[in-house]
Subunit: 425 residues, 2 copies
């Protein structure tokens, strides 16, 4: 299969040549085989005239709990502990595989329609999550969230589930859906559990996701309990060495924590919307970036966002830190776009992803610029970051396969997906 | 003309009865003549089955400079003074009436399509702004921004323009487009100019808009120059008495300023996105609300936003102050919705606006809830505030007239509007 896009404006995310006008892009099977401004030779199974549209790498959402789509709007505007203990945990107690499957399908549809081509998830019921994710055609790093004391680790049901996930994606994931490992958080695990989980990650060369320093209370309690920040604790327990750690939130990490993370090539999943909405605070992201830590972007679960629109998240990232640091040059549109795309691919360990360039995986989206809020277009990247929204996406392609085009889903029965979720009591 | 909406979910914004399922709403000429859950009697010129849709009052955007749509993405990510003096002011120097007319038409289309039914504007070239606004069918409080020293006030070209605007809307505005008065800011005017402008507002019983304490530097410089905060200065100059003041930004106002504003029944146009993007900071809005000052919401000009989507602004308002105050209960979805709708109507001096209730003007929108990111719907107001976006609006009605329906503009030639703006050099 050879698809030719013509007359397309391309944000390549290649620093050497970030933007092309009137370009041609060819997708051959899973990858991009040509990008340029002269018409390529060859026969094409499909020619797409992308006049008026902008092509860019798809978004990478590095922190999600996708079945939580079921809890959209279930509880808002209350304190975190009230939210968690009186609303979310009781709702999670009633989850079944069937419900999770329904929620996952709808979440996948929402992400695909708004331009996300890859995500990193941690949750439970990963049998169902993996099944739906593989079927959908999207890229994902899935993980089973581990909690507990770690005694009799091998016989913990969550560990069995984690192992099934690994087997399943090895068999069915085609390198597109892969497995990560997830320690839920410091405050929901004992040291033994964390160490055993990390050992498992190392042995299988998998990325380790951990919720880290999300709230001030969590951060302070950890210091009180261990005399160490969560990041210091994780480092001292050997969790960060060789596990390609992806730490979510990090609202309260210190400069020393940042240096530790950098020394282990760690990545941060920054979730500004969720951190604001749950009143957790604002992560010191400009300082992380100044110190060279790889910052990526996540929406978190829909229960605390309440959608998965990466355009919203990216714009919030781009403006928030300017306002907090009272310095407009602290970030810019290009950095925001990179954080929302290529940086995420890096954290997912995905090579040849995150650019519109020859040899890269065709994980890309088309954004319709013939809309009132995207005119005029003095600067394409500015319009993408500061003016566009998820609904401007008119095509989402993953590994060369069109998953969504002009409001039509190619791999998900959207009417059924919405109907099934509505029917859940 | 009698339009019946049936099977509609209604967010009434009536505190007594904020939400109705399976309701009927009748619009007779400019106003709502029936809201209830039993089928009304009568003959209808049109019956709209609004199954799957949510009706709510349209948004009121209380701080705009709508022709600045022409500068979308012209300059971002630089310091305010660089932005203003090296990019925006030079671009404004090249404006003509023709360009402003084109920019205004496109801005109106963008606002109408994303659910705004009324806005408060201050700019120049108000002849053209008024003409396009009257034609579009939207509600607006338009004003000519006044700057200068105020000597020979009556012969200032801006004052002549202001007077022409008053005459024009009196003749053509039908109570839908009305005139406000605008003092640009403390730092761009001399005392004499401010006093004369305010006198004009009082004499004509018009609302006075002023940019106030937007940046820390502006606020501090004023204290240095006058020994007073901008709000204290305005009060001492008699600008706030009898002028129904609508002060934009107010990022640095003090608790005393808030008390002063409250004593004059003043209103605040909070512009969180613009304040973050221009690195101005975060206005102390929860404190304003605790003190009973009427807070409203504005996008500011598109040059510093970079769109006019009030859903974005409302969500940002709803989450931002939770994160800043580290308290999730500091605002809630219902308050956010009120600030974005009814509170704005109040600041605009518009009676019988901002509710879906009998006798109220039919300024309303329909939002399509049959979309992946709005399912499930545990709470309609939560989904509107935290999950929806401007593109979910499928109908915008102002004073009983449908201005936009299912991607079609009834009063604006959208292709021409986009084409004209693209052609501006």
């Amino acid at each position: 299969m050879n698809i030719l896009f013509k007359n397309v404006r391309v944000i390549t995310m290649d620093d050497e040549m970030p933007y092309l006008e009137n370009a041609y892009v060819v997708v051959s099977d899973k990858k991009i085989s040509y990008v340029g401004t002269t018409m390529p030779e060859g026969e094409f199974s499909r020619i797409i005239d992308a006049s008026g549209k902008v092509m860019m790498p798809g978004f990478v959402n590095t922190h999600t709990h996708i079945p939580m789509t079921l809890f959209r709007g279930l509880s808002d505007d209350c304190e975190l502990s009230d939210w968690l203990f009186n609303h979310i945990f009781p709702a999670e107690d009633k989850l079944t595989g069937e419900k999770v499957l329904a929620g996952t399908k709808l979440a996948l549809a929402e992400m695909i329609a708004s331009g996300t081509t890859s995500f990193s998830d941690s949750y439970f019921f990963t049998d169902e999550i993996a099944e739906a994710t593989v079927q959908s055609g999207i890229c994902a790093n899935l993980s089973r969230s581990i909690v507990g004391n770690g005694e009799d680790f091998e016989n913990m049901p969550s560990v069995s589930e984690m192992k099934r996930l690994l087997e399943y994606v090895k068999e069915n994931g085609d390198g597109r859906v892969i497995a990560d490992i997830s320690i839920h958080a410091e405050y929901t695990t004992e040291s033994l559990c964390r160490i055993k989980t990390a050992e498992y990650a190392k042995k299988n060369n998998l990325i380790l996701q951990i919720h880290t320093s999300e709230t001030e209370a969590e951060h302070k309690n950890c210091i009180e309990k261990y005399g160490k920040t969560p990041v210091e604790l994780f480092a001292s327990e050997g969790l960060l060495e060789g596990t390609h750690p992806l730490l979510a939130h990090c609202c309260y990490i210190t400069e020393n924590d940042m240096e530790i993370l950098k020394s282990y090539d760690g990545h941060i999943a920054h979730c500004p919307m969720s951190n604001l909405k749950l009143a957790s605070g604002v992560a010191p992201v400009p300082e992380m970036m100044r110190r060279g830590v790889n910052v990526t972007l996540g929406t978190d679960g829909v229960a605390s966002n309440n959608n998965t629109d990466m355009f919203e998240e990216m714009k919030l990232f781009a403006v928030l830190h300017k306002g907090i640091e009272k310095k407009a040059t602290v970030t810019d549109a290009y950095v925001a776009l990179k954080i929302a795309t290529a940086n995420g691919n890096l954290a997912q360990g995905r090579k040849n992803c995150g650019k519109i360039a020859e040899g890269y995986f065709a994980n890309l989206i088309l954004v319709d610029f013939e809309r009132p809020h995207l005119v005029p277009c003095h600067n394409v990247i500015s319009n993408i970051v500061y003016a566009a929204k998820g609904s401007d996406v008119v095509m989402t392609m993953v590994h060369g396969r069109v998953l969504y085009e002009n409001n039509e889903f190619k791999t998900i029965d959207i009417e059924k997906a919405m109907y099934n979720v509505k029917g859940i009591k």
